[in-house]
């Protein structure tokens, strides 16, 4: 994958010297990198390196103190201009009083002009099928396992048909087996929809298995230490020698 700065305008996400202060505390300092259309990029770092803050700024949940943020070739202003974007949180954050389908529909309810109920329904059903939850549309969250809840949350993020999917350690609460299942699921859907994915993780293995490129952040203040290309064929299994070696190499960097 190319990381050339000249490609910035066509990049899905482009950060240029982005910095963030909380009061007098500098959390992020001159962070610059691009994410190409359809690319999967991991933000990797120890806790306290500001990776979630960085993602929240891209998502428009926080405002950058300095620098420029470009999305889809357009410079964003404050927390606006984030229509192409979907955000998946660390926890599934399902509304307990809604069924799986109604939770998926939640993603469509802010749209303006409003999407008719019938269409929301159809699209929610389709996206639940996509994440392998056909037959569970009418279940409430407390009736679902952790993995299934995670799938509902993924469905809610995908239902808007986002061109960019942001994820904040989205599978970290799952057990290892379930997590690797969700990785396969995400890669399968990515292969079909080719959306751009930027995700935060502290798990080196997760970064290598999923990402085309890994942005390694250094802490206090958060800054880019290195950007690593992962050029391994998929599917990648952590036990595969070449993958294991890549994981080892990356681990040495953080």
């Amino acid at each position: 994958m190319s990381t050339a700065i000249s490609g910035a305008i066509s990049a899905a996400i482009s950060l240029r010297s982005v910095g963030k202060n909380f009061g007098s505390l500098k959390v992020l300092d001159h962070v610059s990198f691009d994410v190409a259309q359809g690319e999967i990029v991991a933000l990797l770092g120890t806790s306290g390196c500001g990776k979630s803050t960085l993602l929240n700024m891209v998502a428009g949940l926080l405002e950058a103190t300095e620098g420029e943020l470009w999305i889809d070739g357009k410079r964003t202003e404050g927390t606006k201009d984030r229509n192409a974007l979907s955000y998946m949180f660390q926890e599934d954050r399902l509304l307990p009083w809604r069924t799986a389908r109604a939770n998926a529909e939640f993603g469509l309810e802010a749209a303006s002009p409003a999407i008719p109920a019938r269409e929301r329904h159809t699209r929610a059903n389709a996206v639940l099928d996509l994440v392998g939850l056909q037959g569970f549309a009418d279940a409430h969250p407390h009736q679902l396992s952790g993995g299934m809840r995670s799938r509902v949350a993924l469905a809610r993020s995908l239902v808007t048909g986002p061109r960019i999917l942001l994820m904040d350690e989205p599978f970290s609460k799952l057990d290892p087996q379930m997590r690797s299942q969700m990785h396969d699921e995400l890669l399968r859907i990515h292969a079909m929809q080719r959306m751009t994915v930027l995700f935060v993780t502290h798990d080196v293995e997760e970064a290598i298995v999923l990402a085309d490129r890994v942005v390694v952040l250094a802490p206090r203040p958060g800054r880019v230490r290195e950007i690593v290309d992962v050029e391994l064929p998929r599917p990648r299994t952590a036990t595969d020698p070449s993958v294991a070696e890549a994981i080892r190499q990356l681990r040495l960097l953080i």
Partner: protein
């Protein structure tokens, strides 16, 4: 699962039936050794009840009391729920007004009834006011506490989808508050119903409370019992026929099903 719940339902019905029989038997035995004006027996009370039904004002009294309770309760809900949401979403305002709520809560319903007589005289407003003053703080407090339990994570989720403040209120706040509102409303209705009788005994010229006092003044103890039994049965029917099914339907998403 359904067969288990069905058989446990049948056993519950049987147990309730036995309990009613036992109570009636104990009542009947006790009444044998007592003068009629102290403790009339079940049969005599049944007679008195038939008498009430034939008196012609039974349903009018029932209706007017019900009207006062429902009116006071609805006003309390209409005022208490928005105020509770307002306090729940503005901690500073809540902090400022909190003592006021304690004051209102410490004033007994009987005192409200006395004030109501002074202000409204013998009228519907007297009872409605007492029900309102009793029910409103209960609903307000519950809704307020409910608003404090709103999951900030869900609000952030709604923001990430760029929902408006109104949408966040409707889609996150209201569903979170609803169970608390329901619990408060239930409590408020029960209390309102009870204090309405107190208010009616001193501040009206009809309704169940008035009839109770009238019967007591004339030492018609059997009629007092007949009214009491009527009220108990009415409340049980309301609980089992309306509130329980409604609650089950509204909150079927909860774990404790």
């Amino acid at each position: 699962m359904s067969t288990v719940s069905r058989s446990s339902f049948a056993s519950t019905v049987a147990q309730r039936f036995v309990l009613v029989i036992l109570l009636l038997a104990a009542w009947w035995l006790a009444a044998l050794r007592m003068p009629q004006f102290v403790l009339p027996g079940p049969l005599r009370v049944a007679h008195a009840f038939v008498g009430l039904l034939q008196s012609g004002t039974f349903f009018d009294d029932l209706g007017i009391t019900l009207y006062r309770v429902v009116a006071g309760f609805l006003l309390a809900a209409a005022a208490g729920a928005p105020l509770g949401i307002a306090l729940g979403s503005n901690p500073r305002v809540a902090h400022f007004f909190e003592p006021l709520l304690s004051i209102v809560n410490t004033v007994s319903s009987a005192i409200w009834a006395v004030f109501a007589i002074i202000w409204f005289g013998i009228s519907n407003a007297t009872t409605i006011f007492v029900v309102f003053m009793t029910a409103m703080p209960l609903i307000l407090t519950n809704v307020w506490q409910g608003a404090l339990t709103v999951d900030i994570n869900l609000v952030e989720l709604a923001r990430s989808f760029r929902m408006s403040q109104t949408q966040i209120m409707r889609k996150i706040f209201l569903p979170t508050i609803l169970p608390h509102f329901f619990a408060g409303a239930r409590l408020a209705f029960g209390f309102g119903w009870r204090v309405s009788l107190v208010a009616e005994t001193i501040g009206s010229s009809n309704g169940i409370g008035y009839r109770l006092r009238q019967a007591a003044d004339l030492v018609q103890t059997d009629q007092v019992f007949a009214w009491t039994v009527t009220l108990v049965v009415l409340m049980l029917l309301l609980e089992a026929g309306v509130l329980k099914p409604l609650e089950r339907r509204l909150f079927r998403w909860k774990k404790t099903d």
